[in-house]
């Protein structure tokens, strides 16, 4: 078998894998990223379809988390921040909410009176600045201690859905407040100019510029181990099997893939249980096109009282590169009534379509429903429910499980993927020297 040598072999080109690869390349390590699909980015990619650019997952990024990695490896970065970031439709009326003081503003709008707003605000402040609520109760249980108001509960549901793809009754209350604290340094949040692929394309470019390799259509067949230590990866590229020897192996594919490739015997029963217990968080994304703007004066609207749809974004307003000239691309995101499968697809989509008809005037006449994409299971919008992450170290020495399911508490989604990549990079630099 043909033999190749790299410092680090990385399986999968999701945001976590590419973050690791780019930062290691910058630090002088020779890396190979092996991606089985014909495109890079995983759930942080952008696919061209009928002249539109469709994100495979996230398009929501921040200067402080995604931008900082790109800049660190010599790429520029832009985040498109809508002028008014949030509009909330409550009781048929639309309210704008500023980013600074967002929660206070939302609470004030959704509360039935000043007393309820004050009660909620002070509970919220105490949870952030003094003691986090228990992780044994859900955020919904915690909210119910202070309010029964459906609009107020709906406002929190939106934020939980946006950031975790879970319902508020599924998220541990403590995890929510940990997230608020962990990511309080993020100030510039918005949209990547053409979806998540904008970030991962830049990282691929940086890796190649810094001397690393990113191979698509390149499937990992085996993670080689010797005496419980990872020694490399066997890949198939252009119908040829190649043994890639490396000091460390990073698996950015789902942890189940790492177990399969490195052989179950190398994993202890605790880790196998943790991996098997990973639950992808579901979300339904509706891609809608139109010849005319469907939302005349608002680019993004949140629906605390939606049956399923919690946010509608008219991408073309702030990312014109995502649709052909004269056309509009709209994405509507929906939660699933219960994140645990099995799902009633017909019911969920029926409720989602009702929301679209209620909130977009003349929906059936003006809009074309291009795709309804589901995320769940191993291809969940998030690989794990928030609060149930794995560590980056696998039981196999030198084998890292990197991605959004391996990040500290309070880190979710694409931010978790970047964080996981950063932690993996720091650990590799501490333990291994580049050849």
């Amino acid at each position: 078998m043909k033999q190749l040598k790299y410092d680090v072999a990385i399986i999968g080109s999701g945001l976590g894998g590419l973050t690791t690869a780019a930062l290691l390349s910058k630090a002088g390590y020779k890396v190979l990223v092996a991606e089985k699909l014909p495109f890079t980015g995983g759930r942080c990619a952008t696919i061209s379809h009928q002249g539109y650019k469709l994100p495979t997952g996230t398009a929501w990024v921040s200067e402080e988390i995604h931008g900082s990695v790109c800049r660190e490896v010599g790429e520029d970065f832009e985040v498109r921040i809508p002028q008014v970031q949030y509009y909330f439709r409550i009781g048929g009326k639309d309210y704008s909410a500023p980013v600074a003081g967002l929660f206070n503003s939302m609470i004030a709008r959704a509360a039935t009176d000043d007393n309820e707003a004050r009660r909620m605000y002070s509970a919220f402040k105490k949870a952030v600045t003094w003691s986090e609520p228990s992780r044994s109760i859900s955020l919904y249980d915690w909210l119910k201690l202070y309010t029964d108001n459906p609009a107020l509960l709906g406002v929190f549901q939106i934020f939980v859905e946006m950031d975790t793809a879970l319902n508020h009754f599924e998220l541990p209350a403590g995890e929510f407040f940990r997230f608020i604290k962990e990511t309080s340094f993020v100030k510039q949040m918005g949209f990547a100019p053409y979806g998540g692929g904008y970030v991962t394309d830049k990282l691929v470019r940086a890796i190649k510029r810094l001397g690393g390799d990113v191979w698509t259509r390149c499937r990992a067949l085996q993670i080689k181990t010797k005496d419980g230590v990872a020694t490399g990866v066997v890949i198939r590229k252009d119908n040829e099997e190649i043994e890639v020897n490396a000091q460390a192996v990073v698996c950015n594919a789902h942890p189940e893939v790492a177990v399969e490739l490195a052989s179950k015997e190398n994993f202890d029963s605790g880790c196998l249980k943790d991996v098997a217990g990973l639950k992808g968080s579901p979300q339904v994304i509706y891609f809608i096109t139109s010849d005319k703007p469907l939302m005349e004066d608002k680019s993004m609207i949140c629906l605390p009282e939606g049956r399923r749809i919690f946010c509608i974004m008219q991408y073309t307003d702030f990312c014109p590169e995502m649709s052909p000239k004269g056309k509009y691309l709209i994405e509507a995101a929906a939660f699933v009534g219960n994140s645990t499968p099995p799902y009633d697809y017909q019911k969920e989509v029926g409720l989602g379509l009702q929301d679209l008809r209620d909130n977009i005037p003349d929906f059936d006449r003006k809009a074309t429903l291009m795709r309804i994409n589901w995320y769940h299971g191993p291809w969940g919008l998030m690989r794990t429910w928030a609060g149930y992450s794995l560590p980056i170290h696998s039981p196999v020495l030198g084998l890292y499980l990197t991605g959004d399911s391996s990040a500290p508490s309070g880190w979710w989604g694409s931010s978790a993927a970047v964080k996981s990549g950063r932690l993996t990079t720091e650990d590799i630099i501490r333990r291994y020297k580049p050849n």
Partner: protein
């Protein structure tokens, strides 16, 4: 009739195959449906499915 089959146990309905399909043979939601009469067997869907849920069954 197409040689491609959707493995319903593996399909998560992410729709990536449908965006790559040049003849719009793939559609639906939840679990992707393949119209075997339209499929031109280019196998782009097989290659682009992250779950390996599209299989060639000769």
């Amino acid at each position: 009739m197409s040689v491609v089959e959707v493995n319903e146990q593996k399909c998560v309905g992410c729709g990536i195959c449908a965006t790559f399909c040049p003849v719009e043979a793939l559609g639906g939601f939840g679990v992707i449906k393949l119209d075997k009469n339209i499929c031109n067997e280019c196998l782009d869907c097989v290659e682009t499915c992250p779950m390996d849920a599209l299989e060639v069954k000769p």
